[in-house]
């Protein structure tokens, strides 16, 4: 069977969403290049356009339509639900302190309150960052992995690619710290060559976990690579030794 025959055979499976994740990504890549398959998939999608109407209608819950219009047409900035309880607690604490006419206590309470607010804010930031990381990890459409043997150690490069948000989570682990005059560097492999991604700082005990957006202006991202570069010198192109090379 010719390579293209595989795509022809699997057109219905792609439209139905039944392809395995790797095959689906392969098919999407192919669609970008093959006008015949693209047209055939679009036609089949159009032929089946009403199939989702197989499900019986469900009456919206009261207020749903108003909620949609309100939230869609007038999106509000994210509320911080802990602000109000915190403010209420602050008021009560301050009132109590005034009642006791204890200025020193007021100051202490205010300090405590400020520290709590800071801790809450920090927790929220951590939560947001963790959620962001997990979203990419769980939402990864592609996972690429390569082993790296360096300095008698065996580590690896792992790329979790989220094709929806166009972000990559890059993990480098199990390799020794770079010598003082060198640095590990992650590169995007693009249609136009290698594009600098980020410096990777890690050692045998501390893996590096990076969340990277796609490089600006790059049209085709083909993969990623890890090199070790001289610390002195520019990073317009890789000049050092390539430790791992992953292409999709």
């Amino acid at each position: 069977m010719r390579a293209h025959d595989w795509f022809i055979e699997h057109r219905p499976d792609f439209v139905a969403g039944a392809l395995e994740p790797g095959d689906e990504a392969l098919f999407r890549d192919h669609l970008a290049r093959c006008a015949d398959c693209r047209a055939a998939a679009e036609t089949l999608t159009a032929d089946l356009a009403w199939l989702p109407l197989a499900a019986a209608p469900v009456a919206p819950r009261p207020g749903f339509a108003q909620r949609v219009v309100r939230e869609v047409a007038h999106p509000q900035p994210r509320r911080r639900p802990w602000i109000w309880p915190l403010a209420t607690a602050a008021s009560l604490l301050l009132a109590l302190a005034v009642w006791r006419a204890d200025a020193a206590r007021i100051a202490a309470l205010e300090e405590e309150l400020a520290a709590s607010a800071a801790a809450l804010a920090a927790s929220e930031a951590t939560l947001v960052a963790t959620r962001d990381t997990l979203q990419v990890a769980f939402g990864a459409d592609r996972v690429l992995q390569a082993s790296i043997e360096l300095g008698g150690m065996r580590g690896g490069l792992l790329i979790l690619a989220d094709e929806t948000t166009h972000r990559w989570k890059v993990v480098v682990h199990g390799i020794p710290a770079a010598p003082a005059d060198q640095r590990y560097t992650f590169w995007f492999i693009t249609g136009d060559g290698m594009v600098h991604g980020a410096e990777v700082i890690c050692d045998e005990r501390n893996p590096a976990v990076l969340m990277l957006d796609m490089p600006a202006g790059a049209q085709l991202i083909k993969g990623g690579a890890l090199t070790i570069e001289p610390r002195a010198g520019d990073l317009s192109v890789p000049r050092g030794t390539e430790l791992a090379h992953l292409e999709m």
């Binding site: 039944a18 395995e20 356009a49 199939l51």
Partner: protein, 189 residues
């Protein structure tokens, strides 16, 4: 939806007319909620998906001269993809993604016809009829793939049948539906 009504609605949506959004919500919500609830089996999550769908419509609906017609199928497609994303995320988070009971693997049960309350009821009835005309095994493969986001190998494992059989059943089902639903392309909702 008639071509004239769809064009007018898209023009108003592109111009950020909130009344057009409200009109679209009233028209499409029952179908979008029906689809997403049947897929997700969770009313709250289904509402979130429908909300996301209208958000996409509000942000990206093309003006009539900028894209082909088919506003409702476009919304259905977005909602289905979003629902499948959530189903797959559930599966990734925990391999307990079997909240959908095996009993769901049937054609949607016929409901009391109510054309006045739901414009588009006749399309639903025709799709429902086309699905019930499929052999059970083909309908089952189609539902698992198209409405529940399962891959070939997952369906094969779930039904304990060879991978090739899954592919055959699914392709036969799609081929038959393609024929039976072709006449719906120009129906006016």
């Amino acid at each position: 939806m008639s071509e004239a009504r769809e064009d007018a609605l898209r023009t108003r949506l592109a111009a950020r007319d909130e009344r057009a959004l409200a009109e679209l919500v009233e028209l499409a919500s029952p179908w979008l909620l029906g689809l997403t609830q049947s897929m997700l089996q969770d009313a709250d999550e289904a509402e979130e998906v429908v909300l996301e769908t209208f958000r996409v419509a509000w942000e990206r609906v093309p003006a009539p001269e900028e894209g082909p017609r088919g506003l409702i199928p476009w919304l259905l497609r977005i909602a289905r993809h979003r629902a499948i994303d959530r189903l797959r995320a559930r599966k990734r988070r925990s391999r307990l993604g079997d909240r959908l009971a095996a009993a769901q693997v049937t054609a949607t049960p016929a409901v009391e016809p109510d054309e006045a309350a739901h414009p588009g009821w006749h399309v639903h009835a025709a799709v429902h009829r086309a699905l019930t005309e499929l052999p059970d095994d083909q309908r089952q493969a189609l539902r698992l793939a198209y409405f529940e986001g399962h891959t070939h190998s997952e369906i094969a494992e779930r039904l304990d049948i060879p991978l090739g059989t899954v592919k055959t059943r699914l392709r036969l089902a799609l081929g038959r539906l393609r024929t039976s639903l072709a006449s719906l392309k120009d129906w006016v909702v």
